[in-house]
Amino acid sequence: MPQNPDKVIDHEMLFREPEYQKLFADKKAGFEFNHADVRIDEIRNWTKTPEYKDLNFAREALTINPAKACQPLGAVYVANGFARTMSFVHGSQGCVAYYRSHFSRHFKEPTSCVSSSMTEDAAVFGGMNNMVDGLANTYNLYKPDMIAVSTTCMAEVIGDDLDAFIKNSKQKGSLPADFDVPFAHTPAFVGSHVTGYDNALLGVLRHFWDGKAGTAPALERKPDDSINFIGGFDGFVVGNMKEIRRIFDLFGADVTILCDPSAVWNTPTDGEFRMYDGGTTKAEVERALNARATIVFQQFCCEKTAQFIAGKGQEVVVLNAPVGVTGTDELIMAISRLTGKPVPEQLQRERGQLVDAMADSQAHLHGKKYALYGDPDQVIGYTRFLLELGAEPTHVLATNGNEDWAEKMREVLSASPFGASGKVYPKRDLWHLRSLLFTEPVDFLIGNTYAKYLERDTGTPLIRLVFPIFDRHHYHRFPTWGYEGGLRLLTMFLDEFFETLDANTVVAGKTDYSYDVIR
C-alpha cells in the first residue's frame, strides 16, 4: 500500500507510487477515450508555431487566461482603504464570496465585505429591499463608521439607482440620516478592477467634498500645504504604503494618503480579530480637499479621480507607477518640489545604494530579454527599471491596457536602445503571450501566479511581481516602490537569474562546469 504512517506521504509523491500510476494508466486506457498520443503531440507542437500564433492573434471573441479582474474587486480594495469602512456590494452574493476569497488568497489575511444578496425576485423588482435591509443589518452587526457601496453586474444590468436606494434606506430608518454611505456604480462589463478602483475612490471623494449626495453643503477648499498621495490598486500595498509614508516622513511632509488598506491587510495574530484597522479617516478625506497637490501614483487606476481632483483647483501630479532609480527620482523630485523641501540626506544615500547594488549586479541582467504583463501603470514602471538595468523588455502586455497605455508604453521603449526590440500588446491575454513565448522566446517572464502555467509550457523562468500571487507567501509585505523597493525588485530579478543558472548547470559530471559558488 502506498501510504506510510511513519512518514506520511503527501499528494506530491503519493500519486507517483506504483499503485496509483497503474490506476491512472488503467483509467486512461479503459475509460477516458482520449486522442492518440501521437495526435496530442502533433497538436502540442502545432500550438508552438507561428501559424498557430496568427490564428491565436486573430481571436475576436474568446478571452483565454486574462490578466485582469472586474470592477467591483477594485471597489472592495478601495473600501478597505478607509477607516472603519464596510464594503457593501449591491447585487448577487456569490461575487462577494469571490472578492473576499481572492484577496485572502493573495494577502493571507481576512477581507471583510458584505453583499445585498439579490436573487430572482430582485432581478424582477429591483434590489431596493435588499439595500434597505442590507444596510440596516450591516450597520447593526458590524458597527462601521462608513459603508462604501459598489455594484455587481447584476445590479447594473437591471439599472438599480444607488443614490435613490441609499436615500430611501435612510428614510426607512436603516441608517441614521447623516451616516456616510459613499457609492459608486462599478459595472463588471466596463474596464477592469483598476476602473473599479477609480470609480470607488471617486465615489468617496465626491461624497465628502461635494455635499454628501445633496444632503450637506459642499466643502469649500481652503488651500493648505499638505499633499495627498493616491497609490492605485497595488498587490504590494502592505510593503509599499509603509515605504511611501517613510519617504514622506523623511521629507517632513504633511501627507494624506487617500485609501490605505495596508493596516487592515496586515493585522497581528495576538488573539484578537480586527475587522477594521487603519485606513484613511473621514476627517482626512475632508481635509484632503485643501491639499496643495495630489500625487497619483498610477494614472490608469485614477483617470476620473485625477480629473475630479484637478477640477477642485489642486495640482495633480500623475505618475505611471515609477520604480527603480529614475522612476523613484520622479516621485522624490515631485515631493521635493511640492513641499519646497530639499531631498533628505537619507534618500540621497538610498538612491546611491540602489545604484551601487545595480552596478554590482548589472552584468547578470544586461541584455536579458523579458516578457512582462500586469496592470497598465505597473508594467510601465517595471519596464523602465528593466531598461535602466540594460535588460530588454521584449513583450509588454496588459489585458486591461488600452491604446493610450500602448502609446505611452511605446514611448518608454523607444526612448532607450534596450527597448528597441520591445513590442507592446494592449488588450491581450496570457494565451496570446504563450504564443509569443514560443515564437519569440525570452529569458525571463514577469507576471502573477497564473504565469506559472506559461513557465511550465514554455520553460520561461517566472518572477512573481504582479497581483495576484497565491502560490508564494508574503511578497506583499515587502515594498517594490521607492529606492528600497528597487532593491527588492533587483533582488527578485537576480534570484531568478541565479536559480535558473544553477538549475541549468546542476547535473554532476555533465553540466557542472558553470555551477559556481562565486558570482
Binding site: E19, P66, E120, V190, S192, G271
Partner: protein, 487 residues
Amino acid sequence: MSMTVEERKAANKALIDEVLKAYPDKMAKRRAKHLGAFEEGRPDCGVKSNIKSLPGVMTIRGCAYAGSKGVVWGPIKDMIHVSHGPVGCGQYSWAARRNYYIGVTGIDTFVTMQFTSDFQEKDIVFGGDKKLDKVIDEIQALFPLNKGISIQSECPIGLIGDDIEAVSKKKSAQYDNHTIVPVRCEGFRGVSQSLGHHIANDAIRDWVFEGKTKKEHTFEPTPYDVAIIGDYNIGGDAWSSRILLEEIGLRVIAQWSGDGTIAELENTPKARLNVLHCYRSMNYISRHMEEKYGIPWCEYNFFGPTQIEKSLREIASHFDDTIKANAEAVIARYRPMVDAVIARYKPRLEGKKVMLYVGGLRPRHVIGAYEDLGMEVVGTGYEFGHNDDYQRTTHYIKDSTLIYDDVTGYEFEKFVEKIQPDLIGSGIKEKYVFQKMGVPFRQMHSWDYSGPYHGYDGFAIFARDMDMAISSPIWGLAKSAPWKNAA
C-alpha cells in the same frame, strides 16, 4: 469543566439568544430559525435551511455559477468550460478548487484555464449570442482536441434575454454534433451554490444523456462496474477512493467529475451501481439514473476508518460474496496502517473540540474521521445544505451539538469566542479571522492545499494535518507577549 448535555444545551441556547440581539428585530426572527442545538432523537437538526441569505450580514455562501462551473462542470477535464459574461467570475474561480487531473493542459485538457467571453458594454446592450457563436468557432479552431464545450452563464445572460440554447444547438450541428452544453447557472438564481449543482446536473441529463451529441465510445460492461459520483478529486480524493473500490474487485467506469471525461459521463448508464459521495451536489443525477436506467445508488463516506469500513461493506453488499470477502480483506489489510496512524496522533488529539462550517457533505461526513482520532465535533453547519442534509447529519452528531445554517461572519465569530474550540474547519474567508484569534484552523474545502483526505491513504494525511494545526508551536506565541503577561 465538562458540562452535562443539558447544561450544554442551555449554554448554546443562551449563546444563540445573545448573538441574535445584535440584529434588527425582524432579522433576528429570521436568523433564529437557522440556529439551534441538536436534540437527540429528532429527525433533523431543528433548523431551517436552503432559504435566502439576509442581505448585508456577510454570508459565506456563493452562487449558482459557483455551484455549476466551480463544482460540477469545471473538473470535467477534456471539455472547455466557458465563463459566459463579464471577466470576474471566471477569474476568481480560476484553478481555485484543486481538482487534480492527468492531462496536457491547453492541448487535451483544460481544467486550470480560464475561458471567458469577457462581456463588454456592447454585449450587454446588443446581446451576447453573436459573440458566443464566435467564441465557439474560436475554441474549435484553437483547441481541436476538446471533447466538448459547456457554456456557464453568469448573471447578465439571463437578464438580457440571450438564447444560449439556440446558439448551442446551432453550433453543435455545425460541428458534427459536438457536445455543446448551455448551462443556466446565472448567479442570481436560487439562494446559494446549491441550485447551481441542480442546474448543472439537469444540464448533463438534458444535453449529455439525452442530447444529440456523439456517444461513440463504448466498452463491454461487467457485473462489477460502478461510477464514483460526487467526488471532485480535490487534492486527489477521487483517486484515493477509486483505489479502494478497485481493490475490492469493482471496476470504476467513471468519475463524476474530478479527473472525469465526457466519455466517462456518457458511459455511466452502463454502471451496476452509482456510489455517491457528495449527496448534495449530485443526488439529482443519481436519482435520474435510477429512474431512467434502473441504476441503484448508495451513499458512502470515505473519511476516516470507521466510516470507510462501514462504506466498503455497504458498497460490497450490492455485489456477490467475492466482493464482500474482498472488502473484508481490504479492511483487514489496511488495519495495521490505520492503527499506526491512530496510535501516533490520537494521544495528542484526544478530547479536542472541533467546530465545522463547510458546504456539501463535509459538515457531517468528516465528523467520523475526527472521532477516530478521539476528537469531538461540538458545532457544525452547512453553507448551502437542505433539510435532507440536516436529516442525514443526525446520524453523526451528538446531543446538544450547536447547529448554524448559513452562518454569518458575525455569528461565527461570536460562537467561536464563546465556545473556544481547539480547531476550526471552514474556508479561506474564515481562516485568517480565526487564526488572528489564536485558534488553530484547517481549510476544509481545499484541504488547506493538502490532501487527499479520502480513503485510507487520505486519512493518514488528514490525521497528520489536524495534529499539525493543533500542535503547532505558533499558537503558544499568539497570546504570550511577555509584556502582557508581566502583570
